[in-house]
Each structure stands twice: as structure tokens, then as C-alpha cells.
């Protein structure tokens, strides 16, 4: 896949999966954190397990991607912001019952209040960009 618009297709697949798996369901996230229904935990564990096994196969056989290059696994850097950023994010997750991917699925499903979560995320990203000169000095990279 070379052209940006082609990524509509994997996006549609991912959105369909998020929706059918229940990740766009506010109540299921609350149940997960309250331990009243662990469906999403099992879904997440399954996803992590399946991805872990299949990615270890990818690492072992180093296949070529359809782009023509060999598959190159890129992971995020560990830094001073990883945990604290995770905690801030977790608080937002608990308040909104969504994350940056699943809020898009909520929007697609016609959940009006997701509009405000979505706008909030964009503003939060902008807030980060505004504060970045200070955060950079504190050792938090982009």
C-alpha cells in the first residue's frame, strides 16, 4: 500500500473489528475496570496472545511486506513519560470509556457524546504541542 487513501481499507477492517468485539461499548469498559464483566479483558488477552505468536513467526521468517521491503518491526521508545503519560491516559480512559481508536468506532455507531471525547482528544494533542517546549526540558521526547 503506497497511496494514503488506500488506508481507508485497513481502517474499515479495524473499525469493524473494534465495534464487533465490543470495544466501542462504554458499559463494557466500566465493567472491565469494576470487574463486573471481564469480556474485554479476555478479548484483549486473546488479541495480545494471537499477535505475540504471529509476530514471533514474522520475526523468525522475516518475510517481505507487500510494499516490497522486508518487514521491519518498529516499537516505541521507553522514556520518562511512558508511565506518567499512561496514567494520565488511563484517567481519561476511565472518564470517557473510550480511547483514540475506539472513540472513532463510537462515532461511527452514532454515539453523539463521542463527538466531545473526539474533540477533547484533538485538543489534548494540541495542548501537548503547546507545552512541548517545557516537556522537552523535562526529558519527554516526541
Amino acid at each position: 500500500m503506497k497511496k494514503p487513501y488506500m488506508f481507508l481499507l485497513p481502517g474499515i477492517v479495524f473499525g469493524f473489528l473494534l465495534s464487533k468485539a465490543g470495544f466501542s461499548d462504554y458499559d463494557l469498559f466500566m465493567d472491565m475496570f469494576l470487574f463486573t464483566d471481564l469480556k474485554l479483558i479476555w478479548t484483549m488477552f486473546t488479541a495480545i496472545g494471537v499477535a505475540m505468536v504471529s509476530m514471533s513467526i514474522v520475526r523468525r521468517f522475516k518475510p517481505r511486506s507487500l510494499t516490497g521491503e522486508p518487514v521491519q518491526i518498529k516499537t516505541k521508545q521507553l522514556h520518562r513519560g511512558t508511565l506518567i503519560g499512561g496514567l494520565i491516559f488511563g484517567a481519561g480512559w476511565g472518564i470517557s470509556g473510550a480511547c483514540p481508536g475506539t472513540v472513532l468506532a463510537q462515532l461511527g455507531e452514532g454515539k453523539i457524546l463521542a463527538v466531545f471525547t473526539f474533540l477533547g482528544i484533538a485538543c489534548g494533542v494540541y495542548l501537548f504541542a503547546l507545552l512541548y517546549p517545557k516537556l522537552k526540558k523535562m526529558g519527554i521526547p516526541l
Binding site: G11, G86, F89, A91, L107
Partner: protein, 171 residues
């Protein structure tokens, strides 16, 4: 229950949703050679609004161009969920968010503020942590990235704390 009902009408069981989301990670590498991730794309959305911003963080590498794959991936997620809902046969606009409106507040204005606040923490936290659960949890942990484990610990600790505060103590 027919196969059609199972796949398109009802919510999926955990093993089906989990397995297919898990397979998305290697398939995204095999087709596009990219790590799964959503939150970076919100920076591209910001730049649609503030096109000429001088802010360093919004002129980093992923934002040199505005309409990158990430923008289309985001639009796709929206479309895919809409398709799932339409196929299930009960597409309607919904003003409530699950049990939130019957437990915390019935006011739409307060709900707007509530979800907006949650969103700001999501966006800000994701950029500090360098990613969201798609990049850190679904992609990072299976790729054995230390950042994935630590960020995920943060996501869950924050969520546990806040949700239990909201539903077991405050409301």
C-alpha cells in the same frame, strides 16, 4: 442462530474479536510494513485546523504532510464501525452513553463537558506516553517492547483508579 446472525447481528464472543484484532498486527506489517497506531493521527487532524502552526511538536516527521495514511486510517475506523452497526440492523443516533447518563448525570451539557475532559486527558496522556492502547498494548506488548508493558500498566492503573472512584465512591 445462523452464521449471518453470529457474524453480523450479534456482538462477537471474546475469542473471535480478540483473535482477529490480534491478527491485524502482523497483517498490517505484511501489507503496509507499519506498526498499528491511532493516536499520532490526531496530530494530523490538528494540523487540518491549524495548518500553519509553528509548534515544533506539530511539525515533527509524521506531520510534514497533513493527509498521510493516518488520516485515512482514522476515517476508515469510523466507516468500519458504521458498517458494523448498519449490518446489525439497529443504526440510530444515540444520545446516552451506556450507564453514564442514568448514574452520573442526565444533563447533556454536563455530559458534553465530562466526555470532553476525558478526551483531553486521553490526547495529552497519549502524546506523553508516545502512544495509545493500539500502539502500546495491542502492538507493543506482542512485539515485546518494554514501553508497551509500562504504558499499558499506566493505562490500566489510571482506568482502575478513576472508574472505581466514579462508580464505587462518587456515584
Amino acid at each position: 442462530m445462523t452464521m449471518y446472525d453470529f457474524l453480523f447481528i450479534n456482538p462477537w464472543p471474546w475469542w473471535l474479536g480478540g483473535a482477529l484484532i490480534g491478527l491485524f498486527v502482523p497483517l498490517f506489517y505484511l501489507t503496509a510494513n507499519l506498526p498499528l497506531g491511532v493516536s499520532t493521527g490526531y496530530g494530523n487532524l490538528c494540523k487540518i485546523v491549524v495548518r500553519n502552526t509553528k509548534l515544533e511538536a506539530l511539525n515533527a516527521k509524521p506531520y510534514k504532510k497533513i493527509f498521510t495514511w493516518r488520516v485515512f486510517f482514522i476515517i476508515g475506523i469510523f466507516m468500519g464501525a458504521a458498517i458494523a452497526k448498519v449490518l446489525s440492523g439497529d443504526y440510530t443516533l444515540i444520545t446516552e452513553m451506556g450507564r453514564f447518563n442514568s448514574t452520573v448525570t442526565g444533563s447533556f451539557t454536563l455530559s458534553m463537558l465530562w466526555f470532553f475532559t476525558g478526551g483531553v486527558l486521553l490526547g495529552f496522556g497519549a502524546r506523553i506516553a508516545g502512544g495509545c492502547p493500539s500502539a502500546h498494548t495491542i502492538h507493543g506488548i506482542p512485539c515485546l517492547a518494554p514501553s508497551g508493558f509500562l504504558a499499558t500498566a499506566g493505562f490500566f492503573a489510571g482506568g482502575l483508579l478513576v472508574v472505581n472512584l466514579i462508580y464505587r465512591i462518587l456515584f
